[in-house]
Amino acid sequence: MKTRRGPSLTLRLTLLFALASALVLFLLGLLIGHAVEKHFEEQDMELLSGKMELVRHILEKSNGPWPNESLTHQLDDALTGHHGLAVSILATDGRTYYSNDANAFSPDLLKTKPSESGRPLKWTAGNGVSMRGIAASYATADARTPITIGIATEISHHEHFMHSFRQTLWSFMAAAAAVMGMLGWFVARRGLSPLQTIKRRAAEITANSLDTRLPTEAIPRELAELTDTLNGMLSRLEESFQRLSDFSSDLAHELRTPVSNLLTQTQVILSKNRTVDEYRDVLASNAEEFERLSRMISDMLFLAKADNQQIIPNRERVDLAEEARSLMEYYEILAETKRLRLSISGNGIVTGDRLMLRRAISNLLSNAVQHTPDDGSVTIRIHDDAPGEVRLIIENSGETIPAEHLERLFDRFYRADSSRHRTTEGAGLGLAITRSIIRAHGGDIHVSSAGRVTRFALLIPT
């Protein structure tokens, strides 16, 4: 199945990086452009307000009625040498007292009456020249005719400068953004190189090399957690895999011996004519062996189901003492042949599967009876004093089991005493089954062995 993948991390990081730098550069460009423009505006403003003062001064000094020759002269004189400076003096009724460049003004400037502190207006004059100007009201001495003074200066040279400045600025910015993007790509690749290492290592792992671990040295902290998690997963996989493979080989081994016995025996008998009794003997012995194999297969199936959480116990009231007593009655027959003392004490009621719990206890009891030396004792004690839990303890006398065997006792096919004869011991699945049953009931099982007493403790939730 082909899965849709997201874009590569490098590409994503590169794009994000490029986008972020482009944004920053763009804002920076706007700021610079604005600052330069502001600077020009202030420069113009200084010029314009200076001239405004001058015009006011001249107006104050000259006598009306306006317009007159003298005022025109004075103003012309004052304004000479200032290229591109336009001045208009208008009466409110629309009459022009003075104007050195009638085309230069935008009618808006002179109609509205911006305060002197207000920002200058900017416009394009009739002849296509960019202008900036201010306007102010002026009250004459007699205060009869308020007049408006407009002063404007040509700013085309500023505009030209700004235009080329912006062009240069933006092309620089664009180039910078491109460079940043490339740097971003490089950085992302560098930064992600540990991922490549991990990927390469992970690609090498197969079922045969589950002991490989992802590199943890020189891995950035953010990835260290990931690699630790993955390594943990590998460890668990390795363990399960190992157990599975041990189990398969154990199983094969356990099956090989009886099957090979059966085969040899059958072939030997077939190689010659035998008496009926001889045939019967062999067939009977085969039948016994087959029965054992069949039991082993059933047990294996039970365990396989338990592994897959397919064992779902019934929930019924189970009187542990009653079940244990009934099982003891069964094993008493064996116990008597070894002169073992069997005893039981305590009481406990749990909710669970009666048949399964019986089987669990039976396996332990059978185990205990078989491993207790003659004249020994097997004791069952049931404690129900802890809330929500009943403890069933089976103790038997006999040799102390070394600690290294204890923890493996519940493993399938594990036999602490390898010299013990196979037929009397069963397949070595009993304790594994007991544990599976108890766990399926949400309980647990522990074993301890000290001072020539071996003790199994079942903890079963009530």
Binding site: R280, D281, L283, A284, S285, N286, A287, E288, F290, E291, R292, S294, R295, I297, S298, D299, L301, F302, I312, S326, E329, Y330, Y331, I333, L334, T337, L355, R358, R359, S362, S366, V369, Q370, E425, G426, A427, G430
Partner: protein, 229 residues
């Protein structure tokens, strides 16, 4: 001589089918074998059988369908089904559909035989006798007493139950697993030789000192109580 009982086996695995047929024929039954579900159902409905042994996994029509067909036609004969799948749901399903018993493969032939006899006996329950007898052995069910040749034999409760089982099913080979489950309520396989020991003890009490031995071991099969001819 009563009429031979007829059994239908529906089993698709040829080897299993052949051995079941041979085994049951030799046990005194008249046996027919069908190797698929469709034929099996047809035969079950057209001929009179006392019991059907039905495999669950069958070509054509599975065991469940055959069983349903049999019950839908109103046939009440006991049906024992064989399943390779040891699933609780399977058993429940089979029993719900009207099967009378089930066995999980692999099973011991003696176990199958014992179960078949139990099912067949269920139908004609005569009045429970107060005494069970074999040769000069007598078991008094009311007074819980056993005598042989008039001599009182002391048995424990379990020994009494064991002997009762053997007597009730005289001449049948009883597998260990059946004895364990009937006498000790041990419904799972156990690797121990408890039954062997129990039988040995019972035999000492019942047979020792008498010329006719009643309890016999059939190697690889189980135990039988019978009066030798």
């Amino acid at each position: 001589m009563e009429r031979a009982l007829k059994i239908l086996i529906v089993e698709d695995e040829p080897k299993t089918g052949a051995y079941l047929k041979q085994g049951l024929s030799e046990a005194g039954f008249v046996v027919d074998l069908a190797d698929n579900g469709t034929d099996g159902l047809h035969q079950a409905l057209t001929e009179a059988y006392d019991l059907t042994v039905l495999d669950v996994m069958l070509p054509g029509m599975d065991g469940w369908q055959v069983l349903q067909g049999i019950r839908r036609a109103g046939k009440e004969m006991p049906v024992l089904f064989l399943t390779a799948r040891d699933q609780v749901e399977d058993r429940v399903k089979g029993l719900e559909l009207g099967a009378d018993d089930y066995l999980v493969k692999p099973f011991a032939f003696s176990e199958l035989l014992a179960r078949i006899r139990t099912l067949l006996r269920r139908g004609n329950k005569s009045k429970e006798a107060d005494f069970l007898r074999a040769a000069d052995l007598e078991l008094d069910l009311l007074r819980r007493r056993v005598t042989r040749a008039g001599k009182r034999i002391d048995l424990t409760a379990k020994e009494f139950a064991l002997l009762e089982l053997l007597l009730r099913r005289q001449g049948e080979v009883l597998p260990r697993s059946l004895i364990a489950s009937q006498v000790w309520d041990m419904n799972f396989d156990s690797d121990t030789n408890v039954i062997e020991v129990a039988i040995k003890r019972l035999r000492i009490k019942i047979d020792e000192g008498f010329e006719t031995k009643l309890i016999r071991t059939v190697r690889g099969m189980g135990y039988v109580l019978e009066v030798a001819d």
